[in-house]
Amino acid sequence: MKALAARRHDRRAPVVLLLLALLLTGALYAVLAPTSADAAPAAATADEVETGEKLFQANCATCHGPEATGREGVPSLVGVGAAAVDFQVGTGRMPLQMNGPQAPAKPAQFDEEQIAALAAYVASLGAGPSVPTAEQVDGSLGDPANGMALFRTNCAMCHNAVGAGGALSEGKWAPNLWETTPTHVYEAMVTGPQSMPVFNEATLTSEEKRDIIAFLDLQGQGAPGGLSLGSLGPVSEGLWAWVVGMGLLIGAAVWIGARSS
C-alpha cells in the first residue's frame, strides 16, 4: 500500500485513474445494459408479431387498411416504429373513438402484452423509432436544470411552463404532462403524434430527452408557496384574488358595517 501511496503523486496517476474509471464504466454498462434491453422490442418474437397482426386486422385495419398503408386523412403506419404504437395505443388515443379536432387520451383498450404485440407487428412493417429503454427514461439520471432550459425552448409554448397544458388553434390542445409516464413522454418526442412536431436525436439527444423527463418529474412535488392553483399563471391567480381575497374582505366589511345584535 505504501508503494501505491507514493505513486499517488506520480504525474501519470490521473491518466491511470481515468483509464480505471473508463473501465469501470464500461464494465457497469456491460452488466446493466442487457437488463434494460429486456424491455426493448428487440426481443420481439415471430409469435408476438403474429399476435400483433391479428390484433391489428381486428382493431386497426378498418381505418389504416389491411396493409397499414393508410388512406386519405389516415396516416400510413409503415415506418412509424414501435414507439408510435406504444404511445398511441398505450395512452388510449388509438383506437380512435370518434372524429374530433384531435384524439384525446383515455384508458387504454389493450393490456401491455397486446400493445407490445401490436408494436412488434407495426415495427416489422418498416424501421422506425423503438420503445425507449428504462434507462433512457429514468429521470433520476437526468439534469433537471438542463431539462428546464430545453423544455422552455422546445415544449413550454404549447404545454405551459411546467407542463400544465395549453390551447392550440381550432379546438386542438397540448395536453397536461403531469400524469403522462416518462416512456410516453419520450415516445411523443421521437414520434411527433398529431399536432406535435418530431424531436429526433439530432434535435434533442436521448440524454437531453432524459433531462426533460427529470424536469417534469420535479413537477409532481407541488409548489413551494402552497397550493399551485393549477400552475396556469396570472389568470387563475387573478381569479383567486377576487374570489378568495375580495370575497373574504368584503365579507369582513359587511360584518363591520352591520349593526351588532
Binding site: 425552448t153 388553434s169 412536431p197 429526433n200 439530432a202 434535435t203 407541488g222 413551494p224 351588532s260
Partner: protein
Amino acid sequence: MSMTHGHGHDGQDAPEQNGTAGSDVALREGEDAPEKFPNPGFGPHRPRRADVDPRADKRAERQVVALFALSVLGTIGFIVAYFAVPPGDTIASMRTSNLALGLGLAFALLGIGLAAVHWAKSLMNDHEKAEDRHAQRSTDQTRAEAVQVLRDGVQDSGIGRRGVLKGALVSSLALFPLTIALPLIGEVGEDWNVSKFKRTLWAKNKKLTIDPSGRPIKAADVTIGSVVHVIPEGLDESEAPLDEKAKAVVLLVRMDPRDIKSEQGEGWSYDGIVAFSKICTHVGCPVALYEQQTHHLLCPCHQSTFDVADSAKVVFGPAKRPLPQLPITVDDEGYLVAQSDFHEPIGPSFWERLR
C-alpha cells in the same frame, strides 16, 4: 338666490350658496318641482343585547380578550416557526416553512383586527351622532379679501409695471428644466440609432445552430415534421447576446417539399426545410406553437396564426404581415447556413420600418 330651474328644491335644506345656483347656459325656467315628503327624522334607537343584558356584555368582553390572546399566540407561533421550521432544501420543507410562518402572521394580525372590530361593534357606544355640513364655497367677503390680498402682493412686487422683468422671469423658469432634460434625453436612449431594428446577426454562410446548445444542424438530420429552434452561430460572442438573440431567433421546420405552397423568395428553402423569424410581426412575442399536421404556427400571446407552408402568411389573429423568411442553404459539409440576413426588418411594425 335659489335654484332657478326645476328639479325639485332639496327637501333637506341643502347648503345653498350664493352664486352657485343658476346655470351657464340659457336654460328655460322649469315648472315648479313636485311637492316632496318631509324627512321623518331619526328613527328609534334599538339597544343591543350587550346594552341590556350584563351577561351578554361580559361575554362579548371575553370574546374580545380571547381574540387578542389569539393574536399573541399567533406571534409566538411565528417566532417558533422562524427558528424551528427553516425553508430547507426541498420543496416540501419550503412549503412547510411558508405555511407555518404565514399562519402565525395571519393569526397575529386577524386576532387584533377581529378583536378591535368586535369591541367597537358590541361594546362601544352605538348612538349615532350628527354633525352639520358647511358649503365648500368661501363667503363673498372672504373671496373679496383673498382677491385683495393677491392684488396687494402684485402691487408690492410691481410685476404689472415691469414687463421686461416679467418676461425675464418667465423665460428663465421655462428654460432651466432643459439642464436636466437635455442630458437625460440625450443619454437615456444610448446612441438613439434606431436603424439597428433592421439588421440581425444573420449573414451569408452563418451556420444555423440549435438553441440553446449551439450545435450546428446537418440538413440530413432534420426529419420531416421536425421543428428546431435556431440561433445564429457565435451568438454568445457577440457584443450584446440577448439583444441579438431577441432579433435573430429563427424557427426551422422540415415538411414534405410537396406541401410547400409558396415561399417568400426563390430557392430560400432547402429540400423542404424552411426557416422563419420567430418574432411575431404583431407585437413581438416569440411565435413557436408549430402544429406539424396543418403547418400552422400559433403565437401564444395574441393567437396570430401563420401558415408555414404558404410563406408564413397570416391565417388568423391580429398580425398583418407574414413572418420574414430566412434564406437558407447547406455548406460543403452538409450543415445548414444562411444565404444572407433577412430581407426585411423582423418583428413588430414601426413607423419607419420600410424607409
